[in-house]
């Protein structure tokens, strides 16, 4: 569905050049749900804008949905759907108007556009909102409308740019459901960017991690996590046996970063869930009692930290509930970025 080689974008402004994307290779096969994860400014949106014909690559080439990006951008446009970060509806437009216009710009007749729009509004829980101005919709509804607009021509490949930025947790969970259904029920290939770890984790079959304009890692969420520091395990024991417990733990294959405190032993191990049963038996054999145990799977932020030495910006407390202001600030920061990019390009 997507095959990009050495895709690169350089912006020049006032004599300074910025390599926003430094030559990325991307392969996405049909039916995959691939996530593009990275902090703000990593080059996610720039890459996406190149793949969706909105930005001409400085170098490199790509086949998108069977068409050559450079030779046949109109062909690409016909075959893909794109749901932009900030959406794309006019606040004073009615839902039905936007849907019909979108359908007709993709070449559908009036009746077909309306028919297809009905189908989509039902699928996306937007029924009954036809005559509402888009500015009166809730954030979640508006985002679903954006998705409806992106799907109006039944594309086989859909790009989502930060689909849930700025949404509340319920809307986000709801949107994830819709995105999953697109794939499972309609076999749509999906490529999405996100800087939310749990989003990439929850949705994607495969993740590309981008940082500083380069892809720094690639794999399934689990593979990426396993690759890094391993699970973090904390054992609670009686104070006076802490040292003996630590000795036993030290014998576990792959255990590292072992630290102790009175009554507590912490370490990392590639697979915490499989290491624990053996550990329990070892404790039994030595007649030691384990008071508690805790296994924490590494987060994608751990992955990112290991790969780049930096934390993803919104890593801590990114379980979204408190993050609305943050998300909004980010969204507007991204807007600025988006507005500036073409200036630099010009």
């Amino acid at each position: 569905m997507i095959k990009a080689r050495g895709l690169q974008r350089r912006f020049t402004s006032r004599g300074r050049t910025v390599d926003a994307v430094k030559g990325v290779d991307i392969d996405v096969t049909e039916g995959e749900l691939v996530g593009f994860l990275g902090p703000n400014g990593a080059g996610k949106t720039t890459t996406l804008r190149m793949l969706t014909t909105l930005l001409t690559p400085t170098a490199g080439e790509a086949q998108v949905a069977g068409c050559d990006l450079r030779a046949d951008p109109v062909g690409v446009r016909r075959r893909i759907g794109y749901v932009a970060q900030g959406g794309g509806t006019g606040p004073e437009c009615k839902v039905a108007e936007e849907i019909e216009l979108q359908g007709r710009l993709y070449g559908l007749g009036k009746a077909d556009a309306i028919e297809r729009g009905k189908e989509l509004t039902e699928q996306l829980d937007l029924s009954g909102l036809d005559q509402r101005l888009t500015k009166t919709l809730s954030g979640g509804q508006r985002r679903r409308l954006d998705i409806a607009l992106g799907l109006i021509h039944s594309p086989k490949l859909v790009f989502f740019d930060e689909p849930t930025t700025g949404l509340d947790p319920q809307s986000r969970a709801n949107l994830w459901e819709h995105i999953r259904m697109l794939r499972s029920e309609q076999g749509v290939t999906l490529f999405l960017t996100t800087h939310y770890l749990e989003e990439a984790d929850a949705l994607c079959d495969r993740i590309l991690v981008i940082d500083g304009g380069e892809i720094v890692a690639e794999g399934t969420p689990d593979a990426l996590k396993a690759r890094v520091s391993g699970d973090s395990v904390a054992l609670g024991v009686d104070d006076d046996v802490t040292t003996r417990a630590a000795e036993i733990v030290g014998r576990v294959e792959g255990a590292h970063e072992l630290t102790t405190a009175p009554g507590e032993v912490r370490f990392r191990v590639p697979r915490g869930d499989t290491a624990l049963p053996a550990l329990l038996r070892a404790f039994d054999a030595e007649n030691l009692t384990m008071q508690s145990m805790q296994v924490q799977r590494p987060t994608l932020d751990d992955v990112f930290l290991t790969l780049t030495g930096r934390s993803l910006r919104d890593s801590s407390g990114s379980d979204s509930s408190g993050g609305d202001a943050d998300a909004a600030a980010e969204a507007s920061a991204d807007d600025n970025e988006r507005n500036e990019v073409p200036t630099r390009a010009a």
């Binding site: 804008r49 969706t52 014909t53 909105l54 930005l55 001409t56 951008p73 109109v74 446009r77 016909r78 893909i80 794109y82 932009a84 970060q85 900030g86 959406g87 794309g88 509806t89 006019g90 606040p91 004073e92 437009c93 108007e97 216009l101 979108q102 007709r104 710009l105 993709y106 070449g107 607009l149 807007d335 507005n339 500036e340 990019v341 073409p342 200036t343 390009a345 010009a346």
Partner: protein, 255 residues
């Protein structure tokens, strides 16, 4: 492309009709000039030598219509900046729709809007102030402002797309339009009889002077080559250039 143009035109028309107040607000300024400034002109025109022929109303009304076109069309870029901010431009650009149609649909709507507003002003001048002008001449002037509106709106969109800055855009538009307006003799015609030579010379270089002159000629029913030729040529050339510029910006703009 025609179909796409029509679709975009219709979208903008729907939006305008949803908030017709904007139409009225656009008309307010020229109406105020007509009511609060026009009566002053009446005396001055008759007692001052050097004015072009015609009554004060046939001099002022077409000029106000041109001024209206200047104002409303040059600020058209604002709506585009809003569309950029809302992501509408991006969304439309990712569809297979013709890029040129995305521009044409909008500027044609700008042209039609200006004509509608110009008609309101003309009717007002006719009913309240006893403007007398031949219908053919009025139609000609309406055509002129429609073309002018298309011209300036194209330029405005091109500038907005290039600048992409909601603060800088009005500042730029103002600093360009203010001298253009003063030098086109909209309020007081810049004639050899009224203006010093240097001012007259500068005003002749301003393309909009000739367009205002052509508009005035239409209102007084003067269809002579002398009165219309320069203005028409200037307008056609400007329109071609600006539409080309706008279309190029829409097509090229980071794509």
């Amino acid at each position: 492309m025609l179909r796409d143009t029509w679709l975009i035109f219709r979208r903008d028309a729907t939006l305008l009709l949803r908030n017709p107040a904007w139409l009225a607000i656009g008309v307010m300024q020229p109406v105020l000039y007509l009511v609060l400034f026009g009566p002053l002109m009446e005396r001055i025109v008759t007692s001052t030598p050097g004015f072009p022929p015609g009554s004060s109303w046939t001099i002022l009304t077409p000029a106000l219509i041109v001024q209206l076109a200047l104002f409303s069309a040059t600020t058209a870029g604002f709506s585009l900046l809003a569309d950029l901010r809302n992501g509408v431009v991006e969304r439309l650009r990712v569809t297979p729709a013709s890029r040129v149609a995305l521009l044409l649909g909008k500027v044609l709507m700008n042209g039609l809007t200006t004509v509608a507003q110009a008609i309101i002003i003309t009717i007002l001048a006719f009913l309240v102030f006893g403007l007398s002008a031949p219908i053919g001449g009025i139609l000609l002037t309406l055509l002129i402002v429609a073309m002018l509106s298309v011209t300036l709106a194209s330029a405005s969109y091109a500038v907005a797309l290039t600048l992409r800055n909601e603060q800088a855009f009005p500042a730029l538009v103002n600093s360009v339009m203010m001298p253009v307006l003063l030098l086109s003799g909209i309020l007081v015609p810049i004639t050899t009889g009224l203006a010093p030579d240097w001012l007259y010379a500068i005003s002749r270089v301003n393309p909009f002077t000739h367009i205002v002159d052509a508009g005035r000629a239409g209102f007084r029913g003067d269809f002579s080559v002398d009165a219309l030729l320069t203005g028409s040529i200037v307008l056609v050339v400007l329109m071609s250039l600006c539409v080309f510029w706008g279309a190029r910006t829409f097509r090229r703009e980071n794509a």
